[in-house]
């Protein structure tokens, strides 16, 4: 019987990474580095339009892909910043790269924080550990549109002082009056003069306007339940509390199934959900 084998190149391939050059690498902690990338080609750079809370698939051929949330603000165009912990094959391979090296990026993917909707309100951001990475994008975006927001409070918990990410920037911010930044660590060292204990403890020290505040939370899986409980104690509305979930987003486009959370996929329906939505996702919190 006849076989007609034929093949054709693809015009639009959502699985094909775009080449991006590493333009800066900053060591944040022994485990985490902040990478800045520039997509190669003006068209690719212009087409890359993202929201705070979205993620990209970082691709290193031979090793694979990993989903990483974007840390830079959408208000800063032309480059993409990713805060990456060395915790797997792809992130490990990235950590061994140097400035000028080329990697692949796909995205941006997912639903980010509702920035426009948040405008005109107070903002309460709560991060635990590496959860600061996506919130950093939101913080910087708010910073660049600061007059559109009311009071902005940031609660950021880390294991030890050495684990605090973006510490240089935050140390400066501790003295700003347009951002209330409270850092907390579980295990202080002799140099630490900030708060000690879980990030939830910081809620005793803050005032929240219950109807006028949007919350945003990102951290380790165990953290959400407790932080949400604190926000609910402050009488914040369920649909004004936003959480960003880490799941195994592999394809980024709602096909591979790995990031299933309840009846939805974190990669297209999230990774940012409001608490009302998250409550309706089985096993999400």
């Amino acid at each position: 019987m006849t076989t007609h084998l034929s093949a054709a190149p693809i015009v639009v391939n959502p699985y094909r990474p775009s080449p991006a050059r590493i333009t800066s690498i900053i060591d944040l902690t022994p485990m985490e580095k902040l990478f800045e990338f520039r997509l190669i080609g003006d068209a690719a750079r212009e087409a890359f339009d993202f929201q705070a809370g979205q993620f990209v698939e970082l691709s290193i051929f031979g090793v694979g892909e990993a989903p990483i949330s974007i840390s830079s603000a959408p208000s800063k165009q032309g480059f993409i910043e990713l805060c990456v912990r060395n915790s797997g094959d792809v992130t490990g391979a990235l950590h061994s790269k140097k400035c000028g090296d080329i990697v692949g990026l796909r995205g941006p993917f997912g639903r980010g924080f509702p920035f426009q909707e948040m405008k005109g309100h107070d903002i309460l951001l709560v991060a635990g550990g590496l959860g600061i990475a996506p919130l950093k994008s939101l913080i910087n975006h708010i910073h660049d549109d600061r007059h559109d927001f009311g009071k902005v409070t940031i609660l950021y918990g880390s294991r030890t002082p050495a684990d605090i990410l973006f510490r240089a920037q935050f140390d400066m911010w501790r003295h700003r009056d347009d951002f209330d930044l409270i850092l907390s660590v579980d295990q202080p060292d002799e140099t630490w003069d900030g708060a000690v204990g879980l990030v939830t403890k910081l809620f005793d020290t803050i005032d929240v306007d219950p109807k006028g505040t949007y919350g945003a939370i990102c951290g380790p899986p165990v953290m959400y339940k407790y932080v949400i409980a604190e926000m609910r104690k402050k009488a914040m509305d369920a649909d004004h509390i936003y959480v960003s979930f880490e799941r195994r987003m592999k394809c980024g486009i709602g096909k591979c199934g790995h990031c299933g959370v309840g009846h939805q996929y974190a990669c297209i329906d999230g990774p940012v959900f409001n608490y009302w939505e998250a409550m309706n996702l089985q096993e999400a919190i």
Binding site: G62, V63, D89
Partner: protein, 249 residues
């Protein structure tokens, strides 16, 4: 710089090293990306004192093996356990089922054990004694799996030896399940990664890749008994390659 690699054997039949020599399409390419310092089956010289990667075949069955193994671990940045003997104790592990002294007497005659195999030990896989970085199980190894692992080593990736069982591979091959033919098949609990080669060649899985960490042994036992096999059929079948695992619990 290409990493210096040594290939050596403890108690085994060299079958996995023979598999390496069977990689006729790839071996020249492989030799282009590594600095082969020693290959027990093929080298006439001695093992170098410095190397980066040690590929070890065979089970530990003597004190001498153990000493060598610990030396290798001290020297090599990466240790790869190659084949069933190195990964699960394999066929040498069958000796764990009998009295070791008695067995040597049967094979070599009375009082022979000390002369033939001084410092003999109950056969054990490598990770009973040392940390193993990468595992390529199977009797013999599957060369395409070996090549994948070699890439992972060269790229500094983590060991990705599959933890799941064989059945999904069999489905992909469209092999009619042996249980549907009234036959026992150990694929139900055996570690995947070989592409379910034996079943695709019409032979039930004999468990040479070891018990999969994700296997549900209890349910498998129930299923095997319900299919009309003896209550100890699973344990008995697994003994061919997995007795060392059984002994160390």
């Amino acid at each position: 710089m290409a990493p210096r690699v040594v290939v050596l054997s403890l108690a085994s039949d060299f079958g996995c090293q023979v598999q390496l020599s069977n990689m006729t399409d790839e071996i020249l390419d492989v030799l282009g990306v590594i600095d082969l310092g020693y290959w027990q089956l093929a080298s006439s010289g001695h093992m170098p004192t410095e190397y980066d990667v040690a590929i070890i075949e065979g089970a530990v069955t003597t004190d001498e093996h153990l000493e060598l193994l610990r030396d290798v671990r001290q020297t090599a940045a990466v240790v790869i356990a190659m084949g069933a003997c190195a990964n699960t104790g394999g066929i040498p592990g069958l000796a764990n089922l009998v009295d070791l002294d008695e067995r040597y007497t049967v094979v070599y005659g009375s009082g022979s054990a000390l002369k033939v195999a001084p410092g003999k030990r109950a056969p054990m896989p490598l990770d009973e004694f040392i940390h193993v970085d990468y595992h390529v199980p199977g009797c013999p190894i599957d060369t395409s799996e070996f090549l994948r692992v070699l890439s992972h080593v060269l790229l500094g990736m983590k060991d990705r030896v599959p933890n799941l069982t064989m059945c999904a591979s069999c489905k992909l091959n469209q092999t009619v399940c042996f249980f549907d033919r009234g036959q026992l098949c150990l694929g139900l609990v055996t570690r995947a990664g070989c592409g379910a080669r034996c079943p695709s060649l019409n032979r039930p899985c004999t468990g040479c890749r070891g018990v999969a960490p994700d296997a549900n042994l209890e349910s498998a036992r129930t299923i095997i008994v319900a299919a009309g096999h003896r209550a100890d059929a699973l344990e008995n079948g697994l003994r061919i390659y997995n007795t060392s695992q059984e002994v160390r619990g």
